[in-house]
């Protein structure tokens, strides 16, 4: 697999973030935070009649982008900050760009900047990742 610094990672599209998936996630996570399942609470804190996506779900869109690019099991590290919330109904696109390609003990890695894009907004999630590259 040929990878160059500056190369864009093929983007991964989430056309509409789902409130139902947030509820399933909250149940599996035993997450008591009502912002993920109670629109009234979210409205009271100023985000309208929505629910707020769990941080790990936003991060998982980046995981899916990286898996589609370098394959399942290839991720070695992800670091993510969460400057803005993601709401149900949002159209979100995971994007990334290669910042370094290196080799350690015969294994090739790509370091990348990764982020979630939302039209008309600053990036709601921003971070970095390292993936192991498939052998040529």
């Amino acid at each position: 697999m040929n990878v160059d610094v500056g190369q864009d990672i093929p983007e991964w599209d989430m056309p509409s973030v789902s409130a139902a998936r947030m509820r399933t996630m909250a149940a599996i996570l035993r997450d008591p935070n009502p912002v993920h399942w109670d629109k009234r609470v979210v409205s009271e804190i100023g985000f309208g009649e929505h629910t707020i996506n769990q941080g790990p779900l936003g991060l998982s869109y980046m995981v899916n982008m990286l898996h589609a690019w370098t394959g399942p099991g290839s991720i070695r590290r992800i670091f993510m900050r969460f400057p803005l919330v993601v709401l149900d109904g949002d159209h979100i696109i995971a994007r990334g760009q290669v910042t370094a390609v290196r080799e350690e003990d015969g294994v090739r890695y790509a370091d990348c900047d990764i982020w979630l894009y939302r039209e008309g907004s600053a990036n709601p999630l921003e971070g970095s990742a390292t993936v192991q590259l498939p052998q040529n």
Binding site: N33, V41, S60, H67, P72, I75, R77, M80
Partner: protein, 151 residues
Amino acid sequence: MPEASTPTPEEIQALVGHRFPGGNYTIAHWENFLLTECTGADPLPGDLAHPVALFHMPILGAGTSIGEMFALGQAESDSSIGIESYEWEFFQPMREEHEYRVEGEITQADRRIEGERIFDRIAFQFDLMDEAGVATARTTITWHYRRSTQA
């Protein structure tokens, strides 16, 4: 959760070094399937677990819960928590129906004041090991506990 009074900065700093009981956790097939569906992806090949499991699995495996982590920092409410960052490190892929040993502790905790915003910043670190004791993954969760008043 009941509303808590604002802890002192010293109470928050004293959380550093708090260790969770530790324990074992197995990602069930159904759990991996539903988690993966929540991310919008198709099931991964073989017995690979979706990396998103590295959020809740270490928390529950270490013998704690999101609710207890909120309570440890004396959160004013469940909705007063904000995420600063998550760091996930994978030394080998996680697999469903494999038992992992999990250990966790609080590694950072301090009071922050940014303009008029007062919050406590608490970092939790969890380590996963496979049945042979080999490191599988590490996660660091850093949350902000927003305070409406200063102690």
